[in-house]
């Protein structure tokens, strides 16, 4: 492809500079408004002082101080995001499998159906969950009638409500990569397993599941990352007792204007995500992942 590309573009810009000319505006935008801000955020994380006069002086103590002050919220974020990701996987895998293998000619339409709810604005979706889970709502009154909840039992303002909201809101990030990897699986491979006397459970465990692991990996990543940094669900469906690290960063930045602490917490959050992603990649087995990605 490269050789062909060169052969038909002989004039004007020298060939070597051509890709860079195409890249320049977009990458400049990303460098200026993604990379440079990160550098400023890092500088802020190591600064001291009060708004608006912050002074950079290698204040590493910002990290230890903010982690010890907000350890509860940090642990809670990882816990909520972890549970929500697991539940999302449990809901999405069978759904994606069903569309990929039973969807037939309706595949694209079914996929559209799955994504469709997420075209209702995020905040409105969450407010709808607030309505569904509210004290006067149908769900609570049924659960009270069958004594799952006590007479004063609530769903709103509980950890369960926040986790349920997070699970729901990031579901497409789980379904789509799962669907893509499941859809690519050649059904003849599964048939071959059957011909070789594997029953359905064995052929799923030994053929389908390993081949879909890249999708599981991508889905877990794409769900967990926004989930762990979320603050909207905790704010709308929970109380300060359910606040996550995102709520802390948000209030430190926008209400308390304690920028160094908020910046340090942002990097702690990113570091925690990075570590967990690496551990998870190792647990799934990167060699198996790449083997599964090859057609």
């Amino acid at each position: 492809m490269d050789v062909q590309g060169r052969s038909l573009t002989p004039r004007r810009l020298p060939l070597g500079t051509r890709p860079y000319a195409l890249l320049a505006p977009g990458t400049a935008w990303l460098l200026l408004f993604f990379v440079v801000p990160m550098v400023y955020l890092a500088k802020m994380a190591l600064s001291q002082g009060l708004f608006p006069l912050f002074r950079f002086d290698w204040a590493w103590s910002n990290f230890t101080d903010s982690v010890s002050a907000y350890r509860t919220q940090l642990v809670r974020s990882l816990e909520y995001a972890g549970i929500a990701t697991a539940v999302a996987l449990a809901i999405s895998y069978p759904l994606a499998y069903w569309i990929a293998f039973r969807g037939g000619r309706w595949k694209n339409l079914l996929l559209l159906l799955v994504i469709a709810p997420f075209f209702v604005t995020y905040l409105i979706r969450t407010l709808a969950w607030e309505t569904i889970l509210s004290d006067g709502g149908l769900v609570v009154s049924i659960l009270r009638d069958i004594h799952v909840l006590g007479p004063d039992g609530r769903l709103l303002a509980t950890s369960a409500a926040v986790i349920a909201g997070i699970t729901y809101n990031f579901l497409p990030f789980m379904v789509l990569p799962l669907y893509v990897s499941l859809e690519q699986i050649d059904p003849r491979l599964v048939e071959a397993a059957g011909d070789l006397y594997a029953n359905r459970v064995v052929s799923f465990a030994r053929v389908t599941l390993p081949l879909s692991l890249p999708g599981v990996f991508a889905g877990v990543l794409l769900t967990f990352i926004p989930a762990v940094g979320d603050f909207i669900n905790a704010q709308l469906l929970g109380t300060p007792k359910q606040y996550m690290i995102g709520n802390v960063v948000q209030s430190q930045f926008l209400s308390l204007r304690n920028y160094p602490t908020a910046a340090a917490l942002s990097f702690v959050l990113m570091g925690a995500i990075l570590v967990l992603v690496l551990v998870f990649a190792r647990a799934l087995g990167t060699d198996r992942l790449t083997a599964g990605a090859a057609p």
Partner: protein, 282 residues
């Protein structure tokens, strides 16, 4: 159950049980998938239903009675109309700019082998795996340092930034399956490079570009977190909903939410139909 009936039924029972088990097993997945779809649509049903609600107080959380008034006056709430206008302007401009910049990057990445392509891939990938709150916070820090007042411009900058990566990924997927012999044929027939690009390349990758632009538009119009950090006093539709959620939730919010939903579905259906018609013609 007596011994005699047991002996009579014995040969048949495993078959019946197996058949029942097969039936359950065959439809278990169907039932599970349909329940999952129902779960996905439950809040949407609530949003649509409550757009017809006639709430007594300031909050629209309990059902009071049916009315068409909210749909007759969808913008009848202070600040709502201008918030929607700001959201639409930013979504249009940011998806336009991001689509142009992202398509250029995708062309460079797929068509050329060059030094720095790995770094470029990383630069595209990392923003998609960074929590929104961190991107929002870092941009806020930047604008504070450079003393840039926050408002329409800073929201636009932020939205273009997070949209570029999604455009690159979407357009690249389309470009990878591109048959370059078609371009060579055009050149052989005497078309120059620019004409080839406009008449051959662009029409062929247009569905990918359109899909990318629609995705960027949808991401922009729905974004809350990054906007919240960089909006200053400007209010977009999600920011308006956020503000309203604290003091009063007018049913007009449900009307607008339902309308955005319907328009988005129509646009996606149109894109799917367009592509399938193209595929049939080709």
């Amino acid at each position: 159950m007596t011994a005699t009936t047991a002996t009579v039924e014995l040969p048949r029972r495993p078959a019946a049980a197996a058949r029942a088990w097969r039936l359950v097993r065959r439809h278990l997945l169907d039932v599970y998938a349909l329940l999952a779809l129902a779960y996905l649509f439950l809040p949407i049903g609530v949003v649509v239903a409550f757009s017809f609600n006639n709430p007594l107080g300031r909050f629209n959380f309990t059902w009071q009675g049916f009315t068409l008034r909210n749909w007759a006056h969808p913008l009848d709430y202070p600040g709502l109309g201008s918030a929607i206008q700001v959201s639409l302007e930013i979504a249009f401009l940011s998806s336009l700019v991001a689509t142009v910049l992202g398509t250029m990057i995708a062309l460079a990445l797929v068509r050329y082998r060059f030094r720095g392509s790995g770094a470029t891939n990383l630069l595209i990938f990392v923003p998609m795996t960074t929590p929104e709150i961190v991107m929002g916070a870092s941009l806020l820090t930047l604008f504070l340092n450079w003393r840039i007042p926050q408002g329409f411009g800073t929201i636009l900058i932020a939205h273009v930034m997070f949209n570029i990566s999604y455009v690159v990924v979407t357009v690249r997927a389309r470009l990878v399956g591109f048959d370059r012999h078609l371009e060579e044929a055009a050149m052989d027939l005497g078309a120059n490079e620019l004409v080839t690009f406009w008449r051959v390349t662009l029409p062929l990758i247009a569905p990918g570009i359109l899909a990318a632009a629609l995705l960027a538009f949808a991401l922009s119009i729905d974004d809350f977190v990054i906007t919240y950090f960089n909006a200053g006093t400007t209010t977009t539709f999600p920011l308006f909903v956020w503000g309203a959620a604290r003091v009063a939730v007018p049913p007009q919010i449900n009307v607008i939410g339902t309308a955005i939903f319907v328009i988005a579905i129509a646009a996606m259906l149109a894109n799917v139909l367009l592509q399938s018609r193209r595929a049939r013609r080709a």
